[in-house]
Symmetry: C2
Subunit: 312 residues, 2 copies
């Protein structure tokens, strides 16, 4: 999978990932009203309004970016109809040539982790038929349970040509509570996790990079250099840009010397652009064009930072 | 929620939780065949076969136990139809007076954790209507992101009378890889997490116990006493009994001096009893009776251990 991602980044000329994390407050009233008229005030109506929203955004950004990331919590909030919007959005994005990252942060003991790996990245057999659950290209995974919660995912990555990103240092304010704890050995917990991620990925290399990636938040730029050192062959998915406070310059230490190895996600900053002062001129009817404009502006910010650093 | 759980344990005279974690290999052929005839070899057929299986087990054990635990990965493997079986199973169990624990191990940054908390324990508003996603009583939560990934769950617990169990020391073989790491302060990571769980629960006390519980695996009995000490008011959900190797005697240190504060889960040992030599006489047609018998045998094991320890 990772070689496909690297190629897509080259083709599109940017490492931006659009986060399709719909919230009712970000979906224009007209879409909600139309869905409500069709379906009543039901979970199905929410699901419909998310689909109308997402598909328009995908159409607007598909030629600009290599990938989209879907925060499944935003769909799971609305039960199985919400998750059906997740599944259909993922399928539509893949049909447009985009790589789809399921931001699911799943993990469990081995036998249960197998269930998640099958459902999100793999396939299952019933009777004489192979079936797929959510069928995304890559997904995020939580490391707290250690290797035997990760192996079912790497197994499916190998068999089915998929990839994962393991949480190492997350973007939220309290991420340091456990992740930054100093171990008796002198390292921080997230550094130990980073070393493990590098080890887990060593048997899934394709050229320079591994199918096992990592998540490192843009909101902690001081961790960037160390993280890149500890995981020299690990692609890094970076949340926290934009609405959470991360900027282009903050990302630089995570790129390798050739300006590779990073995917930068922005969600609210792009899909909610139409609500921001800067993009107000588009109005709620043209939320998709506002999103497109926000992608271009983000690309400029990251390109400028890369050029300034000499990595581009 | 916790006071309801404590009362249910008293009423039923046991702290056993039946793990409704269906796998195709545990579902009798006759149920799969019937579902396949109705629905073809599809995800809907899997969902149907899981429902036929689960509802029969619930009918067989509802009068014996206070709660059931649903491992959502086993449903998520089969996409949205699988998750619909999860939702319907949860609703049926609640209608039979059982407390339903969603073993979802979710977590994320605050805004996304809100989505999970709403979907599993809370409710959402669309238009003029309040809607629920999965509507379970309690769920498991992963701590790796720290306090601001937990707060959305405790908020919903408070507002909606629900509860959570935070992963502290999991039952799997590699749980020690990160959870047992020694910190510079001298404690192990899981001990630090335990102390935090106790702190998070302090504002959600109902009598002796908090709505914020913990998960501690039965497979590491040497951790029991320390965990109980660090979390004196924390109800402990214990996986790993039975198929994973844990026995009644291993649980004793987790109970308080009055024999309270523990919920013990068994999944394969109960729902897959019909496939074990010991319960072979029931045959695949009476898998539900085999499950009932396995619950009674597990109750005897735990009661004996409690009596021997003087805690009962």
């Amino acid at each position: 999978m990772i070689e496909k991602l690297v190629q897509a980044i080259k083709d599109k000329g940017t490492c931006i990932v659009v986060g399709l994390d719909p919230q009712l407050s970000l979906v224009p009233e007209s879409l909600k009203k139309a869905a409500s008229e069709d379906r009543g005030d039901s979970l199905l109506a929410v699901s419909d309004s998310f689909l109308r929203f997402n598909l328009a955004i995908i159409d607007a950004v598909a030629e600009l970016v290599p990938a989209v990331k879907l925060q499944i919590a935003m769909y799971e909030r609305f039960g199985t109809p919400g998750l059906e919007a997740y599944r259909v959005t993922a399928g539509y994005a893949r049909s447009k040539g985009l790589i789809v990252i399921g931001d699911v942060k799943r993990n469990d003991i081995g036998s249960s982790a197998e269930g998640y790996a099958d459902g999100h990245l793999g396939r299952v057999r019933f009777g004489h038929t192979w079936l797929t659950g959510f069928d995304t290209d890559m997904c995020t995974v939580n490391p707290y349970l250690g290797s035997d919660g990760i192996e079912p995912f790497t197994k499916v990555c190998r068999e089915n040509g998929r990839g994962i990103f393991v949480l190492v240092k997350t973007s939220n304010p309290s991420s340091g509570e456990f992740q930054d704890l100093k171990l008796a050995s002198g390292e921080m917990l997230c550094e130990r996790v980073a070393a493990k991620v590098s080890e887990w990925g060593s048997s899934l290399m394709h050229g320079k990079w591994s199918d096992v990636g990592a998540v490192v938040g843009a909101t902690y730029p001081e961790f960037g250099q160390k993280m890149r050192q500890l995981m020299p062959h690990t692609f890094i998915l970076v949340p926290g840009y934009g609405a959470q406070g991360g900027k282009g310059d903050d990302l630089i230490p995570l790129f390798d010397s050739e300006g590779e190895g990073v995917l930068v996600n922005s969600s609210r900053g792009i899909i909610g652009a139409w609500k921001q002062e800067e993009y107000k001129k588009y109005g709620e009817d043209h939320f998709d064009e506002a999103a497109r404009e926000a992608v271009l502006s983000m690309k400029e910010d990251i390109d400028n930072a890369l050029r300034k650093s000499g990595k581009m």
